[in-house]
């Protein structure tokens, strides 16, 4: 039976939370009641990436890209589009040129993207292994098992130049080779799916949209290093991803792509899912191993590295989801092909989760070397409300900020490091002129302090002490001495913390101190927050020349601290003011100033 049309409903967590599942069910029942079930196939796929516009529904082969779809739109889509062949215009992604740009591929958001990791997201039904197979899935595994030796695989990976996408960018071939070279009766492969950076969800989307790519990659690694068992360590907060993984594993077992004697090659491999409780530190590989073993998730000293002594003391390859997702493509299309994408230092693509003050927040996959400007303006559609771009935070709480001066920097491992940030797992938080950089540093430090496991003293005590200093500064209680103290703590933390979390926790502070020292000085010396973000330093005043005495602000003030005669300029009682900003936003005459 052949379908005439296909309706793809985004089944990523973002769209699901805006009722995409209900849309999906409504579409099914509408198709049923209108008797077009045999004409149209309705599927749930992984994330399309343009999460800002979700829930997204795509109709093929017409390429109609519907955005912000509601469950009640389902009947109309079936009746109008499927039955009558008329696109539901009001749901189409609104672009300035009407027809030419309606197809997804033509949207600016997708134009500069290059999808390797997300190749199947939004394209296949992640709960159907056949669809993955049709998209050359398990072709790499077939090739590896039937034609390649472990050394061949390593060589191919080496040519590809793939580096770990989880943070530090360690060459993947080297990691595999180290583990391969260790003699042991038992080895393991582990997928680190404990994604935890604020605002980052690349891994979740990959798992939800294309779970088989992970299974295939881990099987390839297991074959290469001589392992026969693997673990996927995933946070329990990703129920959809877990469910899709379970289905995928079941289907792979059904086809004998997991289990004994895979594809008749004599190679055995199976997988198990281990749920994490969502502690950020468990993304650190030694803490992950501890947690996976059933211990409290706390890091262990390295060396020994997991490649020598990993899960249950056995040699272990740990890669994160995005790294794994690259592997089948590299082996299928060749390392050379992969190495042709990207820059000298960084090959392939990188997925970023674009959030913050940006028009098109969502998931984007771009070749390494794409500039920040292209990501922010061409793909991201620029800054919200036409405000001024100030900086972008990359690398999450372990990274730093990149300022407008460096917006034309091609993004790769080396260039980010040079700017005092890191690639990290791919979070990109865009900040505009209203963001206070001291406050941003405080936000990230607050996060790492909260997520510190508490094992080592530098991170446990240093982080909290530094956070208190920052809090003091944002409250106008800082002294110049505090900056020196923070630098002193930062050195201690970065050198003496046990794991990456503590070692990199001071980075947001150091980075903002490097590029925005003037903002710190304004807070400390002038007791002023230039962005007007730090409440304790913000002063609202009524400009008497402009105030006509309408009394609106006085009526709206929640603490009744504005007084004045009718038609006379009003006054704010600074003692009582709680700096909520209500007067500032309600005044129709711009008579309230914010300093």
């Amino acid at each position: 039976m052949n379908f005439k049309q296909y309706i793809l409903v985004c089944g990523g967590t973002g769209c699901e939370s805006s009722k995409s599942d209900e849309i999906y069910r409504n579409l099914l029942s509408a198709a049923e009641s209108k008797d077009v079930k045999s004409d149209v196939q309705i599927l749930k796929t992984g994330c399309f990436g343009l999460c800002e516009k979700g829930p997204i529904v795509k109709v093929l082969p017409d390429e109609s890209f519907y955005v912000h779809v509601k469950p009640e739109d389902a009947t109309e889509i079936i009746e109008e589009h499927v039955i009558k062949g008329r696109e539901v215009k009001r749901l189409l992604y609104d672009t300035s040129d009407s027809k030419a740009n309606k197809a997804m591929e033509n949207l600016d958001f997708y134009q500069k993207q290059f999808r390797i990791v997300l190749r199947n997201c939004g394209v296949i039904n992640p709960e159907d292994i056949d669809e993955y197979i049709a998209r050359d899935g398990y072709a790499a595994l077939s090739k590896v098992l039937s034609e390649m030796t472990p050394d061949d695989v390593i060589a191919e990976l080496k040519i590809s130049g793939l580096r770990g996408r989880g943070g530090a960018g360690f060459p993947t071939w080297l990691k595999w080779n180290l583990t391969k070279e260790v003699e042991s009766d038992q080895k393991y492969v582990v997928c680190n799916a404990d994604e935890g950076d604020p605002g980052a969800y690349m891994d979740r989307s990959t798992l939800e949209g294309d779970p088989h790519s992970l299974i295939e990659a881990m099987a390839i690694a297991a074959y290469t290093i001589g392992a026969d068992y693997g673990y996927i360590y995933i946070r329990a907060e990703y129920p959809l991803a877990i469910n899709r993984l379970k289905i995928a594993m079941e289907q792979a077992r059904g086809y004998g792509l997991l289990g004994k004697d895979i594809l008749g090659s004599g190679f055995n491999f199976d997988l198990e899912i281990r749920l994490g409780a969502g502690a950020f530190v468990c993304g650190e590989e030694t803490a992950l191993i501890a947690s996976l073993e059933g211990e409290r998730g706390m890091p262990r000293p390295r060396p020994p590295f997991p490649s020598v002594k990993g899960v249950f003391g056995k040699p272990t390859v740990i890669n994160n989801v995005e790294t794994w997702a690259n592997v089948p493509v590299i082996l299928h299309k060749g390392g050379k092909w992969f190495a042709s994408i990207g820059t000298e230092d960084s090959k392939g693509t990188k997925v970023f989760a674009l959030t913050g003050k940006i028009n098109n927040s969502g998931l984007v996959e771009v070749p390494m070397g794409t500039t920040l400007r292209e990501i922010v303006y061409d793909i991201g559609g620029g800054i919200k409300d036409g405000k001024k771009f100030k900086a972008v935070q990359t690398g999450g709480p372990s990274g730093g900020v990149i300022t407008a001066d460096y917006i034309d920097t091609p993004i790769d491992y080396a260039s980010l490091q040079k700017l005092g940030s890191i690639m990290g797992s791919g979070g990109m938080i865009i900040m505009d002129e209203d963001d206070c950089m001291v406050d941003v540093a405080k936000f990230y430090l607050d996060f790492t302090v909260d997520e510190s496991c508490g094992k080592c003293a530098p991170c446990r005590v240093g982080g909290k002490t530094m956070l208190h200093l920052l809090e003091g500064i944002t409250k106008g209680k800082g002294t110049m001495d505090d900056i020196e103290k923070m630098k002193k703590i930062a050195l201690g933390m970065s050198k003496a913390s046990l794991c990456g979390l503590g070692q990199t926790a001071p980075n947001p502070v150091l980075s903002t101190l490097r590029y925005f020292e003037d903002e710190y000085l304004a807070h400390i010396q002038e007791k002023r927050c230039p962005a007007g973000k730090c409440k304790d330093l913000t002063v609202y005043e009524i400009i008497s020349d402009k105030c006509i005495g309408c009394g609106l602000c006085a009526r709206r003030c929640p603490v009744s601290c504005i007084s004045g005669e009718k038609r006379q300029p009003h006054v704010i009682d600074q003692e009582k003011c709680i700096k909520c900003g209500e007067c500032y936003s309600v005044c129709k005459f711009e008579a309230v100033s914010k300093k």
Binding site: Y6, P61, G85, D130, A134, R135, S142
Partner: protein, 133 residues
Amino acid sequence: MGKLTLEELKKLRESKQKEMSLRDTSDKNVHIIIGMGTCGIAAGAKDAYSAFVDELAAHNLGNVTVKQTGCMGLCHAEPTVEVIMPEMPRIIYGNVNAQVARDIVRKHVLGKILVNDHVFDRPAIDIVEGGGN
């Protein structure tokens, strides 16, 4: 299905690829667009649609999309179908029933020969050089 061998995996991939290729629009260069306005549907556009899909599948044609559009404004000649493909002029066929649809696939798409009787909007003969009969 039970455990796969290398060969079976390959076969499964090929058959599924064919099925899924209907969805994929990226490397398709032949477009068949059916007018599916009320008039078109009333005149039997749905039958034609099915016939297109079946015939394309029968010939293993992965590079063809069948899309629908609204009324083309040629209501007297419904169902109407537009065929766009390289090396051929844009042609609009009229009165396309299931049989005509199959002919269009066999002659126009595969043989690059116009289905003369149903060409609604016949271009000047010089454009159809080497194509017309």
